[in-house]
Structure formats: C-alpha cells, structure tokens
C-alpha cells in the first residue's frame, strides 16, 4: 500500500516568512511523528500525536514551531518567522501505536527546507 507522503519535497523561503509542511500518514496508522534532520544536530524528535491524546510537544525547539493533526490523519508542521538555523530536512513518520512502545515507525521521504 501507499507509504507516508510529504509535501512539498523541497521548500525555499526567505528569513522571516512562515512555512507549512504537510504529512499524510499510512492509512490506519494512529500515531504520527515529526523529526528534523540537520547536519549539526543529527536526527531529532519534534512532536508526536497519538489518537485523540494531547500531543507530546517536548521536542519542539521554540514557540515558532507548531503542529496540528486534523481528523486523526493529515498533519501540518508550521514554522513561523523562519530563521536560517531552521534549514533542515523535516521527516514525518507514522505507526500503529497499539501501546507499549513496540511499534515500528515508517518514515516519509522528507521535506528539505532551505531558509535564505
């Protein structure tokens, strides 16, 4: 079946602009995750959604970052007033989180964000 999809694949923006990144998880997956991959910081967790529970936002680096998941499916990661240090590949993953932490996360191809 279809995997995790993300759009756009590439985004170039100017410093100070807002950007929205979209993630479409695997159908039926209840959990959705956002990670950031950058040269300096490696792969780092940003935020996690599980069903109707409050999201785990513990990885968001600043209040300029926010995310929502509508209808338990599609998610949007929004970065306000982008800075050059926000340049990175933003990866989305989804899983069948049936509890206990044993689920496998499946990743999308990522969105490469470049802030000029």
């Amino acid at each position: 079946g279809a995997g995790v999809s993300q759009s756009p694949s590439n985004k170039v923006t100017e410093k100070g602009k807002d950007v929205e990144l979209r993630c479409d998880p695997i159908s039926g997956h209840t959990a959705l995750y956002w990670y950031r991959q950058s040269l300096g910081q490696g792969l780092e967790f940003l935020i996690y959604f599980q069903g109707n529970s409050a999201p785990d936002k513990s990885g968001l680096p600043s209040d300029r970052f926010s995310a929502e998941r509508t209808g338990g499916s599609v998610s949007t990661l929004t970065i306000q007033r982008t800075q050059q240090e926000d340049s990175a590949v933003y990866l989305c993953a989804s899983s069948l989180a049936f509890g206990g932490g044993t689920d496998t996360q499946y990743f999308g191809p990522g969105t490469r964000l470049t802030v000029l």
């Binding site: 490696g42 792969l43 996690y48 599980q50 899983s95 932490g101 044993t102 496998t104 996360q105």
Partner: protein, 115 residues
C-alpha cells in the same frame, strides 16, 4: 534519558566481505532498539528491531543485529556486503517507560561498499 552512540562515522568494506555497523545505547529501563537505512535524498527505511526474546534479530535485505545487554550494544551485521548496501545507517532506541514513544537516534554511520 535515552541515548545512542554510533562510534564510526564511516565504514568501508569490500563487496562480499562481512559488514558490521556498531551501536551502543543508554537507557534507564528496557530498551527497544531499531535500525534504519537512508539512501540519498530518501527517508529512513526500517531494517529490523529488537523488542524482546531472541537476542539475534533478522531483518530486511539479509541484515541482522545482535542485542547484547551486558555490553549495551546492538550491532548491525551482514555476512556478505553488496555495493547497493552503500548508504547511511541509523541506530535508534526507545525507552517507553521513561520517554514514551519517541525515538532517539545515533549520529549515523555511512557505509561504503567498494566493488
């Protein structure tokens, strides 16, 4: 806090030779361990995971990994490497009780398999 270390930035191996990518972890509880591979301009692709049971885990594309609790290691292995195995490999850990569902990744190891 959970953490993962991949001590080698790059591993070079000749095609047909055994491949090992090292990973050590630190958690306060029981670890759930994962290996992912990333090809250029692609997302992470799941290879295998250890949850419980047999310490030797077999995964996709002929890869396997051995969980060693005393050495807190989870090294990835392949008996005979292929040129197409050249990629970036990430080890990840989840300590569900302490940190929930998030994965913590190592810094990655670039594997170069030469013909």
């Amino acid at each position: 806090a959970q953490s993962v270390a991949q001590p080698e930035d790059q591993v070079n191996v000749a095609e047909g030779n055994p491949l090992t990518v090292k990973c050590t972890y630190s958690v306060s509880g029981n670890p759930y361990l994962f290996w992912y591979v990333q090809y250029p301009n692609r997302g992470l692709q799941f290879l295998l995971k250890y949850i419980t049971g047999d310490n030797l885990v077999k995964g996709s594309y002929g890869f396997e990994a051995e969980f060693n609790k005393s050495q807190t290691s989870f090294h990835l292995k392949k008996p005979s490497a292929l040129v197409s195995d050249s990629a970036l490999y990430f080890c990840a850990v989840r300590d569900f009780v302490a940190a929930g569902n998030k994965l913590t990744f190592g810094g990655g190891t670039r594997v170069l398999v030469k013909p």
